[in-house]
Symmetry: C2
Subunit: 370 residues, 2 copies
């Protein structure tokens, strides 16, 4: 399969947009207008599930942030400070974490006891505001999260000038960075047939050790829990650029369903990112709530659903993207059984059961949910 | 620097020791003796800080585990089950997680409603018992933890037959596996001058992006928080085999001091591992409680010590391995200032301050604590 040309706005565009925001405020001041700008609303009320695109999207509502208003003046100032720090990252070609940006922009305002920011919980939303206002992904703003993913498979990438053969990285694998835009990580070659995105690092370890990816010619990817942005974005890029199907393997519990749904259509909180992160064609390969029975797992390796699990499962049943009949049955089956199962519980059959039985059968039978 | 020959018992020895335990029990039964074996006591009472070796060690006390005793019969049975599962891992050359071993050994005892194990909190201590009884590290028993570390630097390793140049892995780096015994990961070549072991992944990212390791010819290693066993063991191996000094960079808070102390002399809970994991020559390169002042960090980027911090700092002051005058002053200074500081707060000076100012000055002045 041949790669699609990556679509990406060059870095200077983002800097231009940041500077543009400042210039707009200066222009207001110069022409005696009240300095103000508009920011898209990031709230459940302004989010919708697009049936045609099959992702969660931001709608069009905007709010005004004014300098000369008691309720928005502080946020106005904070937006300017964060914008300034982000433009430094662009100019110097650096990337830094949310926490470092918080510390960089924190100071006591001269002649007062007021801090510009009292905690990171004040600066994080400002960065999200700027993402949606400037239509720039967090990664394009050079803001990092923790890197928490590993990858192996038949794939060659170029990262920071280094050519890395991901089929030759032993049991460790490639540590997936937080920022994997095409400008940062180029996928030079990929001969895999599919991507297996695994919730837990322990299963990734087992599958890598058993060389599952060699036998089934796939890329093994994990984010050690809820996959971080870098892992999601990388899976999306393999899907886009090399047309690889993405199969998601999670625990059989409401949180596993949720992880799958975020990979597939994005999250409510960060709806703006869906268009660059979500993979509407991703498939749920397991654990399904019917698997324990069909694979002869004893009930005593299941874990009783607690009240939170039950409430969460019912909530998921109501989401527009879980309305397919198969999904309603899947969730109902869990609720009826009263049990959830971890991937690790397959070890009850045999230490290699996941590698030699469970996954081969699933793939052969195309036994997944969409 | 040339490597020391790695000291390691071959894998069949570990299998032999596991089988030996079973044979001992069979022999007891055959000769009409009560089946029992001795297990070293893993408790504070049986731990001491060795001043000469400068590590926390297990003392000699042992406890007897009998089959025909109401208080130890269940644990006796559990020890046999876990020993059996561990011998499968040896025979098949597999490694698996604590959780998978729990699931593998769980079943309902025939003709009863009793489970062999009710939770992982019952199987984990049994694995630790077997570690100390058989004098085999958890890694030698093929038991994995999550992999949670990243590494870059001038170093070539062989992992599972793949030769990996850790100086050519871009911004991502090598994902450090949980098991890095010489048999699993061979350090083929290392031309670094020292190891910098960094608490937080975000700082590791920044230092890697700024190519700090190229300018200062070092290995950058992080465990994303409290370093997991694989990261500690790998640092120890670089220290042993290539005589590299290890500098530890942590937040300036009691938890940072504690992370440093575990890297340096091991932990009370797992004293048995110290001899293979601890690095008594490791140095604390910062953040020191004097750094904020000497580097002109404003007090408002400090965080007020809470009651737990203060109690923990006082507790650390009492530990035998913190009795040096410099350490007492270091901890007192934090308590007096009433503030703790995160590494990230150095960004308040400048986004590159850690790379261009803080660390170069520390290294030049040899400004560390021992």
């Amino acid at each position: 399969m041949s790669p699609k040309a990556p679509i990406r706005k060059p870095a200077k565009d983002v800097e231009g947009r940041l500077v543009g925001l400042a210039e707009h405020v200066i222009e207001c001041a110069r022409t005696n207008k009240e300095p103000a700008f508009h920011i898209p609303v990031r709230a459940l009320s302004n989010v919708e599930f697009s049936k045609s695109r099959r992702i969660i999207e931001l709608k069009k509502a905007k709010t005004e942030r004014q300098l000369l208003s008691l309720s928005t003046a502080k946020k106005f100032m904070q937006t300017m400070l964060v914008g300034d720090a982000l433009s430094v990252l662009q100019r110097e070609g650096l990337s830094r974490s949310l926490r470092e940006i918080y510390y960089r922009t924190k100071h006591t305002i001269e002649g007062s006891n007021e801090n510009t920011f009292d905690g990171q919980e004040e600066s994080d939303p400002i960065i999200e505001d700027l993402e949606v206002t400037l239509e720039a992904l967090r990664e394009e703003l050079h803001v990092r999260a923790e890197a928490a993913g590993s990858l192996v498979g038949p794939m060659t990438i170029v990262d920071d000038g280094d050519t890395i053969d991901c089929a030759r990285l032993g049991k460790g694998g490639y540590s997936v960075p937080s920022i994997v835009e095409p400008h940062d990580v180029h996928i030079k070659k990929c001969t895999a047939d599919f991507v297996l995105l695994i919730e837990k690092g322990t299963q990734w370890n087992a599958l890598n050790e058993d060389k599952f990816w060699k036998r089934f010619n796939c890329v093994l990817l994990t984010g050690n829990g809820q996959p971080p942005r870098g892992v999601r974005r990388f899976a999306r890029r393999m899907h886009d650029e090399y047309k690889l199907p993405v199969y998601v393997l999670v625990d059989n519990d409401p949180w596993g369903y949720y992880i799958y749904s975020v990979i597939k259509q994005g999250s409510i909180n960060l709806a703006f990112e869906s268009m660059r992160m979500a993979i509407p064609d991703a498939k749920f390969i397991g654990l399904s709530s019917r698997d324990p029975q069909s694979h002869g797992l004893p009930r005593n390796v299941g874990i009783k659903l607690n009240d939170k699990d039950i409430a969460r499962a019912r909530e998921l049943k109501g989401y527009p993207w879980f309305q397919k009949k198969e999904w309603q049955l899947e969730i109902d089956f869990m609720l009826k059984s009263g049990l959830k199962y971890e991937l690790d519980s397959l070890a009850n059959k045999d230490f290699r059961y996941l590698t030699t039985d469970y996954l081969p059968k699933k793939l052969k039978d195309k036994d997944w949910l969409d």
